[in-house]
Amino acid sequence: MLTLAEVEHIATLARLELTPEEKERYRQQLSAILEYAAILQTLDTSGIPPTSSVLPAHGVLRRDVPATGLDRADLLRNAPQVSDNQFRVPPVMDQEP
């Protein structure tokens, strides 16, 4: 069973603000799912490579040809906050040293 501290740690990693009710609900539900997933530990997978692609491996490089990108106005019109054609966000660093 996951602990509340573990749930809070994952929520921080995932940048999710959760209510106390959500934390408790996810603690129980994620524990049940992980318990079910424990069946995978019963399989011997030594010598089995993890899947990296379901298709035959192929390196894909496109030709480096200059092309017109997406329209700036089309992109910026979705932005929650814009100033001087840039995305505006709250301060990254604390205001006080």
Partner: protein, 494 residues
Amino acid sequence: MSELNDLTVCQSRDLLLSGQVSSRQLTEAALERIAALEPQLHVFITLTPELALQQADQADRRRLAWQKDPGLPLPALLGVPVAVKDVLAVKDVRCTCGSKILENFIPPYTATSVERLQAAGIVVVGKTNCDEFAMGSSTENSAYGPTFNPWDASRVPGGSSGGSAAAVAGRYVPAALGTDTGGSVRQPASFCGVTGLKPTYGRISRYGLVAYGSSLDSVGVFARTAEDAALFFTQMAGLDARDATSMDMPAPVISLDGRSDLSGLRIGVPQEYFIEGIQPQVETAVRQAIDTLQSLGARVLPVSLPHTRYAMPVYYLIAPAEASANLARYDGVRFGVRQPAETLLDMFKGTRGAGFGPEVKRRIMLGAYALSAGYYDAYYNQAQKVRTLIKRDFEAAFQTVDAIATPVAPTTAFRIGEHTDDPLAMYLEDVFTLPANLAGVPGLAFPVGFDSQGLPIGMQLMGPHFDEEVLFRLAHAYQQVTDWHQRKPKVSSQ
């Protein structure tokens, strides 16, 4: 007008070509039926009637020009009305992905799959409802409310592409686009009694498909016949430089022509898909359908896919892991609905906490856990190793058979609210569709009967990588000698 709504894609195309019907008539018939039945079915998140009529008139002008000069090229789907799942971008048309966080998002470009169909002449009538970011098996996880099954409005249409499945079953449009990461085309096709294709991974470009599980996501199609689905598939398939996982394989020319002779084809029946817990009427109908394929000349052989039971836990570790990375982009910086905050970190957390629904948060949490330090090897890496075993099961089976026949889901459509409090029970609905995504093989679902409550039952055919054609051939033959796919739900406006 009801007659126009009953036309298949191929029938519409023939009537359009002979000038007996115009695209405007077909499109207006679709819009009228949508207006009449939306209060009961709730298929759409966004309707695009103006765009649709404009595209219809354009198609009609092009067709008239062709009639005067048959030397002009005529696109294959010119003037056919289509609905598009709201996780596929259409430039300048709102794309919500069923999420509050993208309530106001206007895509700056169009998905390759849609772009190719538009080049082939389709008319887009709207964006269909789905589980938020395609995470779900019932369309109940949409932030815009559930879609209702046209066969019984107290039941779910399946998911995540439930709106698109209901759009075709409810006779709004003859075809609709969906996406399939773990069964999201095949399971709703089964629940709604329509034909649904999940192609081989890499066959249809994912560019413009909002990412959920990138190694599993595929663009698929719903139609009322295998022939119609094949027509859409061939128009969308093929290399796209904007998707590095799209394969350089030309789209096949699929000619079905009413053929029903299946001599020389071998169909495998895996015992692992006929398990305890499956609804008995589902098993009976699927076994009868296999008998029908045999009577058409196919050979039926037992095969084994021994790692089938591990597909569910493997999928529900890998897909959430990929989702936790893919959905990191919804941070309130460049698009979407932002929750204001004093600091950047609080803005991220608040935006995501308020913008995502319960299932999306659950999968992000699960994925972040499976990828986190100390658990990566035990969960994520072990899941990817078992995925290799699942893929090898299919490779071995396709050494001896051309296709594999199974049920699509253990049950017919369940009631709205039946599984909402128990995520594990909901995940178990996908046990028969997840393996195809994990192995990257194509799957086709189509109706093979009804249960005693009048709900459709679907069969799934799976084939080797890049052999969608054999699936279409088998389903087409079946549809030549049965009429399940022609049954029509009784939905009427109130």
